[in-house]
Amino acid sequence: LDDGDTKHNGGRARLEELMARLADGDQAAVIALYVEFATPISAALRSHLRALGCDGIGRADLDGLVLDACFALADCARAWRPDGGALPWVWAARRLRVLASAHVGQYGETFDPDRHEPDGASPPAPAGDDADSQVEVLDRLASAHPLCRLLREALAQVGSARDGEIFLELQVQRLAGDRSPAVTVGRQFGLSSAAVRQVRRRTRARLRSLADIDDRFAPLAALDLVA
């Protein structure tokens, strides 16, 4: 901002004048700040919103946030020093971030498969080292559910323990809503997503084949996991 800017261009001198009036308790200066400096304040707010993952905001919502920001700036106007160099909304960035964060807390974006491609999305963080492996979970379920016991046996026959673990983990991630399960599991096991998908294809084909040729494993053919 240059001192030579006109009032409606949001000149630095005008901004300092308004901040001084706010510091003196002139409530009308809040409105003047809103009317004359909404553009740079909204730009600062958009930046905070983008940093919080909110790329789109309605005009009415943004306008409300700008008003909130003006009141927030009024509340701290006495502490702002014009010779400090920073513009008030930069100096009070944390206050504006709180406002943006409060907005994002109520913000929900409709899922759009075209925008949320599996490879572009951030997958959920993998489970920690102390979490049970999916094979261990399956082992526990096997004692109570015959089909789980059958699957456990089948996995042991068609591939390595690691392949079985990858195969199950992939399914768990997919059912948990992970849009890029292969990426997540790949990170977990130090593999590329392509390698993970290959393990899944290979294991599933072998399970299907086993269900076809061995009547004992035939019930597995009904599982989505195998079909």
Binding site: R21, A32, Y34, V35, E36, D63, L67, F71
Partner: protein, 123 residues
């Protein structure tokens, strides 16, 4: 509605005006921001009410009118012809809506003065 020869270069093919209007409406230049003073006044009124002012909505409306003008108390009183003492009492929420001078109401006609039991004096 059909308009002919409306494009630069003298193209004579007919252009549907509705198509042009639609394009103009979508152009960024069509979306000029304007302050929502009614909302600003309501928000300011909420804050003043918390301070226990007798007439917070009136004070907020008058402060919004002056804020939108960009003027300080003295110049605003001069421009509107309102006694500075009355203006100060209005802004501090001491006076009822009926005390708001017509000149102040005219200054910020977008504010819903009617909700303050006043009719906007457009005379």
């Amino acid at each position: 509605v059909i308009r002919t020869g409306a494009l630069a270069g003298g193209r004579s093919s007919p252009i549907a005006l509705a198509t042009l209007d639609g394009a103009m409406a979508r152009h960024p230049a069509a979306h000029v921001w304007s302050p929502d003073l009614a909302r600003a006044s309501a928000r300011l009124g909420d804050r003043l009410r918390e301070r226990g002012l007798p007439w917070p909505e009136t004070a907020a409306a008058v402060l919004t009118a002056r804020g939108a003008s960009g003027l300080e108390t003295g110049p605003f009183a001069t421009v509107t012809g309102v006694d500075p003492g009355v203006l100060a009492r209005l802004e501090s929420g001491e006076l009822a809506p009926v005390e708001v001078p017509a000149a102040v109401r005219r200054w910020a006609a977008v504010i819903d003065w009617a909700s303050l039991d006043l009719e906007v004096d457009r005379g």
